[in-house]
Symmetry: C2
Subunit: 232 residues, 2 copies
């Protein structure tokens, strides 16, 4: 009946009412000097879609965002960062108070060991950039997890499912969204994704080719369902 459909819609609108959600989005930039840096092709679309979706379901969303060209979804509190180190500090600060945490940012895993304040002058021939690891934010979130429901992303180009399962376990996640970024219509810069959803309880779902908005909806609904014990 129409009444039932409307009731369902109404219920969905409240699905995350008052739930504190922390989402990370976009790339980070790791500078060599003021005009040169290492980064990745993340546009932030997935994370922003997740933030929009969670907010529309009543959540209190904090979005920690790397440099992207997107506008902030309505009702979302956005914190801008540039480097992996800045993202680390913002995420860790907001983690204790968060209930649902989705780490969709593509954080650089390496950064130049030395950053120059002035533009480096070109010299003939080769030069070598020494890179060091950035902090593993997701690992840290997994280790410090208490009441949080923690979702990670894996973007791989080969052995995608196997690597995703390993990451789910090694980072102590509750669920993971696995993308094969070398597949047509998946990954960085495009508006769609093809993904696999795995939970630590062994649940597995294939999300076929769909828009990042639709995928965000599916992820948020799955997460809300999993968290239901706590928030029903």
């Amino acid at each position: 009946t129409i009444v039932k459909v409307l009731e369902e819609e109404q219920k969905k609108k409240q699905l995350l009412k008052g739930v504190k959600v922390l989402i990370t989005a976009g790339p980070t930039r790791e500078k060599i000097d003021p005009v040169r840096f290492f980064t990745n092709p993340s546009t932030g679309k997935m994370g922003y879609a997740l933030a929009r979706q969670a907010s529309s379901l009543g959540a209190e969303v904090t979005l920690v965002s790397g440099p992207v060209g997107l506008s902030t979804p309505a009702g979302v509190r956005r914190i801008d960062v540039t480097t992996a180190e800045e993202m680390y500090h913002q995420v860790l600060e907001h983690y204790p108070a968060s209930e649902l945490v989705i780490k969709s940012a593509a954080v650089a895993d390496y950064r130049p060991r030395v950053t120059y304040d002035q533009k480096m002058k070109k010299t003939p021939g080769e030069y070598v950039v020494e890179m060091e690891r950035t902090r593993d934010i997701l690992m840290e979130l997994g280790e410090r997890k208490e009441h949080q429901y923690l979702i990670g992303f894996a973007a791989e180009t080969q052995d995608v499912e196997e690597y995703g399962r390993q990451k789910l376990k090694s980072k102590n996640l509750d669920a993971i969204v696995i993308n094969n970024v070398s597949e047509e219509g998946a990954g960085f810069g495009v508006d769609t994704n093809v993904s696999l959803w795995l939970t630590k309880d062994g649940e597995q779902k294939s999300f076929p080719l769909m828009s990042k908005d639709d995928l965000a909806k599916r992820i948020i609904e799955e997460a809300a369902r999993q968290m239901k014990g706590d928030y029903a």
Copy 2:
């Protein structure tokens, strides 16, 4: 009189009528692997403003563009490239037929010596990226210059004017636009610039803080004036 103003406007509209203009814009990306690359903060705004302006003055504009989030100005023929090497080939191909050439792209001057087809796996500890020089597109344009009026940009953080003068000469340019990108309101990602215009004939003009659209207008008008001998 109104008639005079309208006549002036009409004349300006025809300022570059039929002139073949080649403009480069945006950053380039130099890959380490499918999800990691080296780049710079150029958003392409300056180059796109130049293309829009030249086109509105009647020029036939070809815009060779690195990856940016901007839409193509009306009437402009846009060629998308990603790497410095791709930009080199496109620019060199269109150079002989061009009359006014403005190189506003922030082409990476180094690229990783080796690019991996698959995503590199993280390993503990440091690693080293060996970088090699990309080709110097502007130098090559200067060397091959025949009938072209060639304008370059310099983005510096110190000794700005001196470096700009050297570049004007060493690259055999006709004019150069020098920006101090460490100045407030100048450079990458912002909508304004503060610049110095120098020509090989020793002309010098300061362009105070203005929008990139206004700066584009000034540059195009200066260029048209300088080229007037040929196109009046």
